[in-house]
C-alpha cells in the first residue's frame, strides 16, 4: 500500500530531520501513482501533488513518525480538507415548495437517490413530493412510483406529455394542493455533451427554480469525472453532489476530481440499493479509500 511504498522511498531517514528535494520527488511520484490508480483525474492529481509538495518541503519530520508516515499524514489531511472543507447541509429555502433537482449521467443512481432523499426528508419532518421527469427511459415512471410507494411519499407523474417542463409546472400546483413543501425532481440520465438534453436540463431548472441542484455521480467513475462535473456544474448550476455505490470497492478518486472542479461539496453518499441506504458524506472515509 502507499504507506509501505513511501517507507521504502524514505528508508534511513527516520529521526534525522527534513524531507529533501530528492527523496521528496520519488515520494511524490508514488503518491501521484496511488492517486491515479484510485481514479483521480490526471490534472487534478498533478495540482494536488504540487500542493502536497509545498506543504511537505522543509517540514520537520516529527520525531514520532517516519518520513513516509509524515508524508501520508500530509496527503491525508490535504485530502480531507479538500473533500470536506465546504460541507454544508441541504438548502431548502425560498417560496414553498422548495425544489431539489437531481441530475447526472445515465445509470448513476438518480432515481434511487431521489427516493432515498424523500425518505430522509420525511424523517426530518418535511412533506416531500417526488416528481417523475424522466419521460424517456422505458418504465422510468413505474420505477419511481414503485419506490414512492416503498417510502410512502407521493409521486407526481404525467403520462400525457413528453415535456419535463410541463411536468414541473404541474408538480408545483399539485404540491400546493397537497401541501408538500419540497419537490424532488428526478430527471433522465444524459451525456454532458448532449446539447439538446443539456438545454432541456436548463429549461427544467428554470421552471423549477430549485434551491438545491445535485449532480449524482457513480463512485466508480474514472478520468471523465472532471469533464462530467465541469459541464453539469456550469449548465446545471449545481449546489452540491451525491456519490453513489460507495458500498462497492471502487477507490473513489472521482470524489476528489468532483470537488476540485466544481468547488461544491459532496452532500450525500449512496451506500446501497435500499431506500434507507443513504449517508451523509464522510470526507475522512473516502480519503482513506483513495489512498488505498
Amino acid at each position: 500500500d502507499l504507506q509501505e511504498k513511501l517507507e521504502g522511498v524514505f528508508r534511513g531517514l527516520s529521526g534525522k530531520g527534513k524531507l529533501s528535494e530528492e527523496n521528496m520527488t520519488e515520494g511524490l511520484r508514488e503518491i501521484r501513482r496511488a492517486l491515479l490508480s484510485a481514479d483521480v483525474e490526471v490534472g487534478v492529481a498533478k495540482a494536488f501533488v504540487a500542493r502536497v509538495r509545498e506543504k511537505a518541503m522543509g517540514a520537520e519530520v516529527l520525531k514520532s513518525l517516519t518520513p513516509g508516515q509524515q508524508l501520508v499524514k500530509i496527503v491525508h489531511e490535504e485530502l480531507v480538507t479538500l473533500l470536506g472543507g465546504q460541507a454544508e447541509a441541504l438548502r431548502l429555502e425560498g417560496t414553498p415548495p422548495a425544489g431539489v433537482l437531481v441530475m447526472g449521467l445515465q445509470g448513476s443512481g438518480k432515481t434511487t437517490f431521489s427516493a432515498k432523499l424523500a425518505l430522509h426528508l420525511k424523517s426530518k419532518g418535511r412533506r416531500p413530493l417526488l416528481v417523475a421527469c424522466d419521460l424517456q427511459r422505458p418504465a422510468a415512471i413505474e420505477q419511481l412510483e414503485v419506490l414512492g410507494r416503498e417510502v410512502e411519499v407521493p409521486v407526481y407523474a404525467r403520462r400525457d406529455t413528453k415535456d419535463p417542463v410541463e411536468v414541473v409546472q404541474g408538480a408545483k400546483s399539485h404540491a400546493r394542493e397537497i401541501l408538500s413543501d419540497v419537490l424532488i425532481v428526478d430527471t433522465a440520465g444524459r451525456l454532458q455533451i448532449d446539447e439538446e438534453l443539456m438545454a432541456e436540463l436548463e429549461a427544467v431548472r428554470e421552471a423549477l427554480d430549485p434551491s438545491e441542484r445535485l449532480l449524482v455521480l457513480d463512485a466508480m467513475t474514472g478520468q471523465e469525472a472532471v469533464s462530467i462535473a465541469k459541464t453539469f456544474s456550469e449548465r446545471g448550476e449545481i449546489t452540491g453532489s451525491v456519490l453513489t455505490k460507495l458500498d462497492g470497492d471502487a477507490r473513489g478518486g472521482a470524489a476528489l476530481s468532483l470537488v476540485e472542479v466544481t468547488g461544491k461539496p459532496i452532500k450525500f453518499a449512496g451506500v446501497g440499493e435500499g431506500v434507507g441506504d443513504l449517508d451523509v458524506f464522510h470526507p475522512d472515509r473516502i480519503a482513506g479509500r483513495i489512498l488505498g
Binding site: R33, L36, S37, A38, D39, E41, V42, L105, Q106, G107, S108, G109, Q136, R137, P138, A139, A140, E142, Q143, E145, V146, L147, E150, L191, Q192, I193, D218, M220, T221, G222, Q223, E224, S227, I228, K245, D247, G248, D249, A250, R251, G253, A254, E273
Partner: protein, 278 residues
C-alpha cells in the same frame, strides 16, 4: 511533412499520460510506453509521430481480440447470460442484442431474471414489446434462477434459437449476490447442455480502474466469454478494457453507443485503439 519526435523520457511520459487519461491505468500505460521505447529504439532514437502512433495503436489493438467477430452460436438454444454491476446498461443492451439476433433471422426469447429492482421486469417487457420478441417473467421477488430455468425450458419447447437472460445489477464485493449469480449460471447448465454459451460482462465505458476488479471478481464466479462496452457515445474512452485484456485476456465483443435499440455494434479493436489517441 514528417514530424520527428525523440523517444525521450519526456515524450514517453506524455504517451503514458494520454493512456492514463483514457482510463488505461498506470501499470498498463507504463508497460505500453515501455514496449514502444523498446520497439522503436532498436532502429533509431527518433521516429516520426505517425509511426509512433501506429505502433501504439497496433500494440493496443493486438491486446483486444478479433476484429468485429460475429459470435458463434451454441445450443440451440444459444443461451446468453448478461451480468455486471448496477446501472451499466445490461437491460438496454439485451434489447440491442435481441434486435441483432432477430435481424439475422433468429427466434429470440428474453428472461426477466432481475426480480429485485423496482420496475426491472417492466423495463425489460417494454423493450421486448418494442423489439418484437417474447419474454418469460415471474412475480417480483421470485428466484432468478427459477426464471432462467423456466425460460430455457420454454425456449427448448418452442424452438427458440437464442435466449438472453437479464440479471440484477450487483457489486462484485457482495458475496451473497455473487453466489446467486453462480447459481443462475449453474441452473442454466442443467436445463440446456453447455449453457450459458455466452456470458457477457457489461462494462460502462466511464468506469475507472474498478473495471479490472469487476472483471476479475465476476470471472471468479462465472466464466466471462466477452465484454460489452456500453456508453461509448459519451466522452469516456473505455481504456479500462486494455488493462483488463492485459491482466485477464478477456476480449471485448460488443459496444453500446446510445440509448436506442440500434445503438449497438460489434467491437473493432482498430477503431477503439484509434479512439484512444484522438
Amino acid at each position: 511533412l514528417r514530424r520527428e519526435v525523440y523517444l525521450t523520457d519526456e515524450f514517453l511520459e506524455e504517451v503514458e499520460e494520454i493512456l492514463i487519461a483514457a482510463d488505461v491505468g498506470v501499470d498498463a500505460s507504463v508497460e505500453l510506453a515501455e514496449s514502444l521505447r523498446r520497439r522503436l529504439k532498436q532502429e533509431k532514437a527518433q521516429a516520426d509521430l505517425a509511426e509512433v502512433t501506429r505502433v501504439l495503436r497496433e500494440d493496443v489493438a493486438a491486446m483486444l481480440g478479433g476484429e468485429e467477430a460475429e459470435p458463434e452460436l451454441g445450443g440451440p438454444p444459444h443461451v446468453i447470460l448478461m451480468v455486471g454491476v448496477n446501472g451499466v446498461g445490461k437491460t438496454t443492451s439485451i434489447a440491442k442484442l435481441a434486435r441483432f439476433h432477430k435481424d439475422r433471422g433468429r427466434k429470440v426469447l428474453l428472461a426477466a431474471a432481475d426480480t429485485f429492482r423496482a420496475a426491472a421486469v417492466e423495463q425489460l417487457v417494454s423493450w421486448a414489446d418494442r423489439v418484437g420478441v417474447d419474454v418469460v417473467r415471474q412475480g417480483m421477488g421470485s428466484d432468478p434462477a427459477a426464471v432462467a430455468f423456466d425460460a430455457l425450458a420454454a425456449a427448448r419447447a418452442r424452438g427458440h434459437d437464442v435466449v438472453i437472460v437479464d440479471t440484477a445489477g450487483r457489486l462484485q464485493n457482495k458475496e451473497g449476490l455473487m453466489r446467486e449469480l453462480e447459481k443462475i449460471a449453474r441452473v442454466c447448465g442443467r436445463q440446456v447442455d453447455g449453457a450459458p454459451h455466452e456470458t457477457i460482462l457489461c462494462l460502462d465505458a466511464n468506469t475507472g480502474q474498478n473495471g479490472i476488479t469487476q472483471a476479475k471478481e465476476f470471472s471468479a464466479v462465472v466464466p466471462i466469454d466477452a465484454i460489452l462496452l456500453s456508453k461509448l457515445d459519451g466522452t469516456a474512452k473505455g481504456g479500462v478494457v486494455v488493462a483488463i485484456a492485459r491482466s485477464l485476456q478477456l476480449p471485448v465483443r460488443y459496444v453500446g453507443t446510445g440509448e436506442g435499440v440500434d445503438d449497438f455494434a460489434l467491437f473493432s479493436p482498430r477503431e477503439f485503439a484509434e479512439g484512444l489517441f484522438q
